[in-house]
């Protein structure tokens, strides 16, 4: 079974190349998003918005690895969750201010990404995914037993704290401002990475690795770099989430969280720039409004998975991109 050959022939998420006009369109969309971010809390519930933004960043980070690196990771919850734990722990037990706590969490995710990435990228395709899943399971069991994570109670009552020691984040609106800034920064950073020379080489490696290597590029180094970047940004999302909700729990490292981020990316559009944001919006909204229906939530999520894979592989944004014939 030549799995790698199959993968090269039809990479799971191939993004379209971008021209200068497209960049102008994207800039417009960024401005639009910024406007929405400012206006939304006046209309919608800020805590719900913050949840969407944290997960959108998580999905964007995941998509960086998938859409541009061509690597489907089944263990991204490890970085999201571990960062969340470290951030919660430093904020609660070590008294860090929120920006330092978030930084600690993010750095943890980066280091974890470095170690796991170095192990995982040695293999490709389904084997890569399985390694990431196995490593994430080990992180889960570690979190279950370690004392500092609080086991299944998690780390509770994490203080919102005061940003830079000065601005209290206890008010949801102040917290929202911070989250919006973090999200914008993360999104723009990812965009910059994708459209840089580094990003170009990544795409070349994703599309035809042997050729890229023959041109002199050290493919493994690039893959490791994008893996670490993806893990770091996932960690940023996780740390921010820990401060917003003031808790870190086993849910964050469980494999179903890894599955959720895949779902968000799938629904939004794998390999598109804005797809994960839309996907996160859809999935979080669905969960929030369907919570009252209890058991039906997982069934509906399952149906969404099935329908997307069968009929709707480009996802929402991918579909729009196809219709307007511009990459999104």
């Amino acid at each position: 079974m030549a799995d790698t050959a199959a993968l090269d022939a039809a990479p799971i998420a191939a993004a379209l190349p971008t021209t200068r006009d497209d960049k102008a369109l994207h800039r417009l969309i960024f401005v639009g998003i910024a406007v929405l971010l400012i206006a939304a809390p006046l209309v919608l519930y800020p805590v719900y918005l913050m949840k969407v933004l944290c997960f959108a960043l998580f999905a964007l980070a995941f998509n960086l690895l998938l859409g541009y690196g061509g690597l489907l990771s089944f263990g991204h919850a490890a970085y999201f969750g571990m960062a969340s734990y470290l951030c919660a722990y430093t904020a609660k037990s070590l008294g860090f201010t929120p920006e330092l706590a978030i930084l600690s969490g993010t750095v943890t995710a980066a280091l974890l990404g470095l170690v796991f990435g170095a192990l995982a990228i040695r293999r490709q395709g389904i084997y890569f995914s399985m390694i990431t899943l196995a490593l994430a399971q080990m992180v889960f069991f570690f979190s279950l037993q370690a004392k500092f994570t609080g086991g299944e109670d998690g780390i509770q009552a994490v203080p919102r704290g005061a940003l830079f020691g000065m601005f209290s984040l206890a008010d949801d609106r102040a917290m929202y401002a911070v989250v919006a800034v973090v999200f914008m920064a993360g999104m723009l950073l990812i965009y910059r990475i994708i459209h840089s020379p580094f990003g170009q080489v990544l795409k070349a490696i994703r599309d035809n690795e042997p050729r890229a290597i023959s041109l002199g590029y050290r493919a493994n180094q690039y893959k490791l770099a994008v893996f670490v970047l993806s893990a770091t940004l996932a960690g940023l999302a996780g740390s921010t989430k820990a401060i917003v909700f003031q808790l870190a729990s086993l849910t964050d490292v469980h494999w179903s969280m890894s599955g959720e981020v895949v779902l968000m990316t799938l629904v939004g559009g794998m390999g598109t720039v804005f797809g994960p944001i839309v996907g996160a919006l859809v999935i979080v909204t669905m969960e929030t409004y369907l919570a009252q229906f209890g058991a039906w939530v997982t069934i509906i999520q399952g149906c969404v998975f099935v329908l997307c894979v069968l009929l709707f592989r480009e996802g929402i944004v991918g579909l729009i991109a196809k219709l307007i014939r511009r990459p999104l």
Binding site: I12, L72, L119, Q137, M138, T298, G302, V306
Partner: protein, 295 residues
């Protein structure tokens, strides 16, 4: 009383035997998964849910139709297999030309749906299913009390695994199957109905899962989540054994059951993770798995 590393030999042999019994479940489940992946290139995430369905069908046969364990052993795999065939025809067949990660995503979604529906209907505490009278009780061995039912599980699963291996490797039907997956166009040109083969293969693979479910019903709690707990471990087994290799997954299933059993004696806290650690090591050293064919 002699001890090895501080554990009495009696206890050790007892644990090894139990590990072998657990290994039987891993072997049958990974056999089904390996067949489906090896021959269809689909990573069947729904395997755990179908295993659960096998156990539930056994319970339903008993509760609604009064048909006992021995009926269930024959009928439940057929029911689950038939359901699998429907799934394959309606949904899965559409993905054959795509990257096989889509198959994983689709079957993952199917697993969520199946488990959710059963949870809605039957709750999560589990349903009672008793060991059949002919197999209850046990043997007082010198090193442990061996329940008859557990011995039966090993025998049944070995029989099924060996029989399946023989069919695939040694019969004409098996030869057609293997040829059809290596080069479907050519085989179809010879007049063999390839899509039918693929459908039947999927049906057979999940019927094996259903069979394992019936074996499990008397000893494990029959609840909708029973599949979710075991599926990831079975994936690890298949990856370690070699994702296309039938004999590989069977041997690995039993071997890993033994390893897990040993870990439970010496370092029980790690018994859940030891299989993943092994998986990572194997993937780094021999990525196609211990018995896999391509690198």
């Amino acid at each position: 009383m002699t001890t090895i590393f501080g554990v009495p030999t009696q206890a050790l042999f007892g644990q090894l035997l139990l590990g072998l019994i657990n290994g039987s479940f891993y072997a049958i489940l990974s056999l089904g998964l390996a067949i489906i992946f090896g021959l269809l290139n689909i990573i069947n995430f729904a395997h755990g849910a179908l295993y659960m369905m096998g156990a539930f069908v056994a319970w339903m046969l008993l509760t609604y139709f009064g048909l006992g364990y021995w009926w269930a052993l024959g009928l439940a795999p057929l029911v689950v297999g038939a359901f699998g065939i429907v799934l394959e025809r309606v949904l899965i067949a559409r993905l054959y030309k795509l990257d096989h990660l889509y198959g994983l995503l689709l079957t993952f979604g199917l697993a969520l749906i199946i488990q959710g529906l059963f949870r809605n209907q039957y709750g999560v505490s589990g349903l009672p299913y008793a060991i059949p009278a002919e197999l209850s009780g046990g043997q007082r061995l010198p090193f442990m009390f061996l329940p008859n039912y557990r011995a039966w599980v090993v025998v049944a699963s070995l029989t099924v695994c060996i029989a399946t291996w023989l069919v695939i490797e040694k019969t004409k039907l098996g030869a057609y199957l293997r040829a059809a997956t290596e080069n479907p166009t050519l085989v179809q040109a010879f007049g063999v109905n390839v899509p039918l083969f693929l459908t039947l293969t999927y049906g057979f693979g999940v019927a094996l899962a259903g069979f394992a479910g019936v074996l499990a019903a008397p000893i494990y709690s029959v609840n909708p989540n029973m599949g979710a707990d075991i599926i990831i471990v079975v994936f690890a087994v298949v990856v370690i054994g070699g994702m296309g290799s039938i004999i590989g997954s069977v041997i690995t299933g039993f071997a890993l059951g033994l390893v897990e059993g040993l870990t439970k004696v010496f370092y029980p806290e790690a018994s859940a993770t030891v299989i993943f650690v092994i998986m990572v090591l194997v993937l780094l050293v021999k990525p196609a798995g211990l018995f896999g064919r391509t690198a």
